[in-house]
């Protein structure tokens, strides 16, 4: 079943508008009136109207000449979240301005709910102007923006002119992000779930860890006076730092029959995984990822913004998985599980007993359409999982 694409309006390079046709009719009428009447001034009016028509064709051409367009794309955009692109217009003409120019993307529009279009009111000669444009991404993945069209009907709306240009840019759209319930995160942090342990490290303020030599500049409140008196030199207490919980997110993206329902479930699964990754990293978790994308992809747990981008990029570019099913995913996850790491398996299917048994004690299994998932993950209403897969992974006809 093909997902409907947004309509991409490609305007002809030169066209008469309805206003132009009416104007041309009025002009002919004026010519007839001039021929009919001996009033010479009507010939002048007729000539004026012809001149206006000719010069409007010329001006529409001038407006589109020597105008350079640059896309300024945001660092990250998410499915279902409105984002702002910016188009920078640089008018390279020395004397003539550019007015009333519309820019519309011709390729790459399938990533968005509507064809991205922006409108420039005015760019004076030799100046630059920036125009914001709001887009609503609807498909995850890497999208290429290439051909775009500049069009104008300035100065009088009689003639519409358009030109095509090419400039390659790419934009990576991440899966939709949901609001994750805090309770779910607390659940992940609990040490009672299999495998999650606090690994004490020094450098914190929690519990006593040991003593070390006191250095100038450190907080004198940590000086261990008794030991210092005994050793004869100043020593300071070292306290533990609670190591953040480690998570390993397993994403089951297996699709058996390529139906729309399955695809929708898989997309929701991916989005849930992405939401958890984002939220957990914000909370200070170390998060890793295991997923099938032509082969097994394992990213060890880590933290930081760059790591978050990497994880989300992998999820965004996940390919169609018709090979590795849930059992394989669980098995793979178990192989890479480390001590102190909580693994969470996101699956699009209903959780069955076998799966639970397999994961018992080692893994939390969350089904995409379960009540728990609906309770813990709240997606914006603009997100449509039925259309958020990349264009080349669309469901097949049922």
């Amino acid at each position: 079943m093909r997902v409907p694409m947004p309509s991409v309006k490609k305007k002809p390079s030169l066209d008469f508008s309805l206003t132009g046709l009416i104007y041309a009719s009025m002009m002919l009428f004026m010519g007839l009136a001039a021929i009919n009447s001996p009033a010479n001034l009507l010939f002048a009016v007729f000539g004026l109207m012809i001149g206006v028509l000719l010069v409007s064709a010329l001006i529409s051409r001038i407006v589109l000449r020597r105008i350079q367009v640059n896309r300024v794309l945001p660092e990250s955009i998410f499915v279902g979240q409105s984002s702002t692109f910016q188009y920078e217009f640089a008018n390279r003409k020395r004397f003539w301005p550019s007015l009333s120019v519309t820019v519309g993307e011709l390729t790459g529009a399938e990533a968005f709910a509507r064809q991205p279009q922006a409108y420039l009111l005015h760019a004076a000669a030799g100046t630059k102007a920036a125009v914001p444009m709001q887009v609503m991404p609807k498909r995850r993945g890497l999208h290429q923006l290439d051909r775009y069209q500049l069009s104008t009907s300035f100065p009088f709306g009689f003639i519409k002119r358009a030109i095509e240009r090419s400039q390659k840019d790419s934009i990576l759209v991440y899966p939709a992000i949901a609001q994750v319930d805090r309770k779910f995160l607390s659940l992940l942090m609990s040490a009672e779930l299999g495998g999650a342990r606090m690994k004490p490290r020094r450098g914190g303020t929690d519990e006593f860890y040991g003593v070390k030599e006191f250095r100038n500049g450190e907080n004198p409140r940590w000086i261990h006076w008794r030991r210092s008196a005994r050793t004869g030199s100043l020593v300071a207490k070292e306290m533990t730092r609670v190591a953040p919980p480690r998570l390993l997110v397993l994403v089951d993206s297996y699709i058996a029959h390529r139906s729309a329902v399955e695809h929708r479930a898989v997309e929701r699964t991916i989005a849930m995984a992405g939401s958890l990754i984002t939220r957990a990293l914000d909370e200070g978790f170390s998060v890793g990822l295991a997923v099938w994308s032509r082969d097994w992809v394992l990213i060890p747990a880590s933290r930081g913004k760059r790591h978050a981008r990497d994880l989300m990029a992998v999820l965004a570019r996940l390919e169609l998985n018709i090979t590795a099913d849930s059992n394989a995913m669980v098995e793979n996850g178990r192989r890479h599980l480390r001590n102190g790491t909580t693994s969470i398996l996101f699956t699009p299917r209903e959780v069955n007993q076998t799966l639970i048994d397999q994961a018992r004690g080692k893994c939390i299994v969350i089904s995409a359409n379960s009540d728990a998932a609906n309770r813990w993950f709240h997606f914006p209403p603009e997100v449509d999982f039925g259309q958020s897969m990349p264009a080349d992974q669309e469901p097949q006809a049922e």
């Binding site: 000539g47 206006v52 009333s100 922006a118 630059k128 009907s153």
Partner: protein
């Protein structure tokens, strides 16, 4: 999103100009005032924020009322285009009061344009032409802004952006220099449109499709007041002077132009039978008694009469404006008449009047040669008159009563009583006529306002009442009275209706008499042995020689002259003018081409002649050798200088690169950067002159930061220049020559500021 504030003021201005143009065309100040009032109120309401659009039903009702009014006007005989124009103006006003959206503004603009077109059909005055030019310019500007507004509104609806996502600085940047851009574009559109208008106006064929769709324009500039082919006395009004121009007449006596020193009596038609209208007994009027043999001349328009001039010939070049009259005017004694274009007319030898076959609907140029002398009738007519076979056709009763008056001693000193009734043409005719003329001039008063004597004049024969009771009136009364008085005593007389122009009518700029409706006049011609002699019995209309014009009169004459030229070359531009223009253009181009070719040939011959002279002279070779040697030496010196300059500039660039600190880069990059970063070198040298030196361990940015002790402006300038330095050095930015010059100027200004701050004698300072 975007705020195009210029649109509404320009729209209102365009509407006002359109309404003014139409009011000017229909010559109705009241209409203009009415429209301006409503437009002004609307503008005030909009500006003060009190405006609220009419409900649609109310606008529809008002529209229907206006339509009804206009229909009623059509039933009264008014030109249809006038009514259409009024309706368009009403529509505009109604639209103004229910304006809501862009569609309404578009309708207003279209209505305004249609109104101006209707006005352009009706009038051809120069002032309107200027107004039209201003209107076109403003409307072009307004349309450009309107289009921008429409597109911006459409984009706002189609591509909405949350207001918090839009940077106000970005929007402001888009509207920077918008006014300048609009001016440039308006100038381009105006220039192109005007050029095309002129080309179409000059070269578009004329005349072929005239009237193809019927007559829609206003009635032409008719002689409503002033000259009329009908003379009757049933309407008694306060006659107002009418300054509409009837004709421009250039007069030559022999070969010399008459400079406004002569009075001209331009004859139109003659009337010789007076009496009551049989249909309406109270209506007295003049008619032509009989029409003799008429000569139809339709082919070449060249009229030749039997008259022969014994004195100087008076040549008149007349340009007659469109009128409802069918007369062509000329001085008495028409010998020859020729029209510029194909025009059929009839000449009546009996009274020398010339009648057009149709109404003069457009300007007509014709040349007339006259004797300007009393003319004698043809022999046959003369005999008939003398033998009274041609009698007087005026009403006998009227003549009887007027004879009684004429025979009074104080009128003709008894001469009239002695006049024989047997022979019509006698020697005493002229003397008697002179007496009558003198009597009327001396004892009667000229006035245009006879309203208080309406009842008296209408009671019976108005001329008799004029003579006996009222004793005041305008030229028709005077001429009628004299004519009847002459006829009553058996003297052949006729009233002539035409125009009289004195020196006051002469325009020194155009060197012609400007004949207006106000110059319409009636006088008398009496048949004497000399011929038909002209008499003007109207009192208070003395012959006024050309007097030097006052300043205001001179200004008025100048405007009349400009208006005349406008009418002649623009309004009356027709197919013939177009052909002349094309011919003269063709002739000029051909002549230029031939003369240029001739000049080129002459030059070639001269050069080859000189060359032959030189070639056979021995001195030529010496000179040639010297010149050649000099040229070679100069070339060699030039090359040498170029090489030296090249190495010197290379060396300078290398030194500059070394000073700035990138002499480790590849040679090519060094030279490129040295050229681009000349400004930074100048800056550091300027600072160095004042002992402000960058330490080797400091980067350019760190060095700039240390200059905080300088005035804020200079400090900021140095920081900006340093940022530019980084962009060029590391950012692959290229400065074009224009930008380099601007940056150099900034550096020079900075150097001057440093010079003022730190004169050279100050103590050494190092950072």
């Amino acid at each position: 999103m975007y705020d195009l504030r210029q649109f509404k003021p320009s729209l209102y201005l365009v509407l006002l100009l359109g309404l003014t143009g139409f009011a000017m065309a229909v010559e109705s100040p009241g209409f203009w005032g009415f429209c301006v009032l409503f437009v002004g109120v609307n503008a005030w309401l909009v500006r003060s924020g009190r405006y609220s659009p009419f409900p649609r039903w109310l606008a529809n009702v008002v529209t229907l009322v206006s339509l009804t009014y206009v229909f009623m006007q059509i039933w009264v005989p008014r030109p249809p285009l006038l009514c259409i124009g009024q309706f368009l103006a009403f529509l505009q006003i109604i639209k103004l009061y229910e304006q809501r959206a862009n569609r309404d503004y578009a309708q207003l603009l279209v209505l305004s344009l249609l109104l101006m077109v209707a006005a352009a059909i009706n009038t051809a005055s120069l002032l309107f032409g200027f107004l039209m030019l201003v209107y076109m310019t403003m409307s072009l500007y307004c349309c450009l802004i309107f289009h921008l507004k429409v597109e911006a509104d459409r984009a706002k609806a189609a591509f909405p952006i949350l207001s918090d996502k839009v940077n106000p600085a970005t929007l402001q940047q888009d509207q920077r220099y918008l006014a300048r851009s609009m001016r440039r574009l308006t100038g381009l559109v105006w220039t192109a449109a005007t050029a095309m208008a002129v080309l179409v106006f000059i070269f578009f064929p004329r005349g072929a499709g005239l009237g193809i769709l019927g007559q829609l324009q206003f009635k032409t500039n008719a002689a409503m007041t002033g000259f009329s082919e009908r003379v009757s006395f049933d309407q008694i009004n306060d006659i107002k002077q009418n300054d509409d121009i009837v004709a421009h007449v250039m007069v030559f006596k022999g070969d010399k132009r008459v400079p406004g020193t002569e009075s001209l009596f331009l004859r139109g038609l003659t009337l010789d039978s007076y009496g009551p209208d049989p249909a309406r007994s109270q209506r007295y009027q003049w008619t032509r008694a009989r029409q003799n043999r008429d000569e139809d001349l339709a082919s070449d328009g060249d009229l030749r009469t039997h008259l022969v001039s014994t004195g100087a010939q008076w040549r008149q070049q007349i340009r007659l404006e469109p009128s409802e009259a069918r007369c062509l005017f000329a001085l008495p004694g028409v010998m020859r008449l020729q029209t510029e274009r194909q025009f059929s007319f009839r000449y009546v030898p009996a009274d020398e009047s010339i009648h057009a076959a149709e109404i003069v609907g457009s300007s007509l140029k014709y040349d007339v040669i006259s004797t300007n002398q009393p003319t004698r009738p043809e022999l046959f007519d003369n005999i008939l008159r003398q033998t009274l076979l041609i009698g007087v056709d005026s009403d006998a009763k009227v003549l009887d009563r007027i004879r009684l008056y004429t025979l009074r001693p104080e009128v003709t000193d008894g001469l009239a009583a002695q006049h024989s009734r047997i022979y019509a043409i006698q020697d005493s005719n002229e003397e008697i006529a002179r007496k009558i003329e003198h009597h009327l001039k001396s004892n009667f008063t000229y006035t245009l306002d006879l309203t208080e004597y309406r009842n008296v004049l209408k009671d019976g024969d108005p001329i008799y009442n004029f003579l006996t009771k009222v004793r005041r009136g305008h030229c028709e009364y005077f001429a009628s009275a004299m004519t009847l008085m002459c006829q009553s005593v058996g003297i052949p007389a006729r009233m002539v209706v035409g125009f009289r122009c004195d020196g006051d009518s002469y325009n020194v700029y155009s060197n012609c008499y400007v004949v207006r409706q106000a110059n319409a006049h009636s006088w008398v011609e009496v048949l004497t042995p000399r011929g038909w002699v002209t008499f003007d019995p109207t009192s208070g209309r003395e012959d006024s020689r050309h007097r030097s014009a006052s300043l205001w009169q001179s200004i008025k004459q100048f405007f009349d002259f400009v208006e005349y030229k406008w009418a002649e070359h623009v309004v009356a531009y027709d197919a013939k003018d177009r052909e002349k223009m094309l011919q003269s253009l063709d002739t000029a181009v051909t002549r230029t081409a031939i003369s240029t070719a001739g000049e080129i040939l002459n030059w070639r011959e001269w050069i080859s002649h000189k060359w032959e002279e030189l070639a056979f002279s021995s001195a030529f070779y010496d000179t040639f050798f010297n010149v050649l040697s000099l040229m070679i030496a100069l070339m060699a010196a030039g090359m040498f200088a170029a090489i030296i300059w090249y190495f010197v500039s290379r060396s300078r660039l290398k030194r500059r690169a070394h000073r700035i600190g990138f002499d480790t880069l590849p040679r090519r990059q060094q030279l490129r950067l040295a050229r681009q970063l000349a400004f930074y070198d100048t800056l550091t040298l300027a600072l160095h002159r004042h002992q402000i030196v960058r330490q080797p361990h400091l980067t350019a940015k760190e060095f700039a930061n240390t200059l905080v002790f300088l005035p804020a402006e200079s400090y900021e300038a140095i920081r900006r220049l340093t940022r530019l330095f980084y962009r060029v050095r590391f950012g692959n930015t290229d400065l074009n020559p224009h930008r380099q010059r601007r940056v150099e100027e900034i550096v020079h200004r900075l150097a001057e500021t440093l010079e003022k701050l730190f004169p050279r004698r100050r103590a050494w300072r190092k950072t």
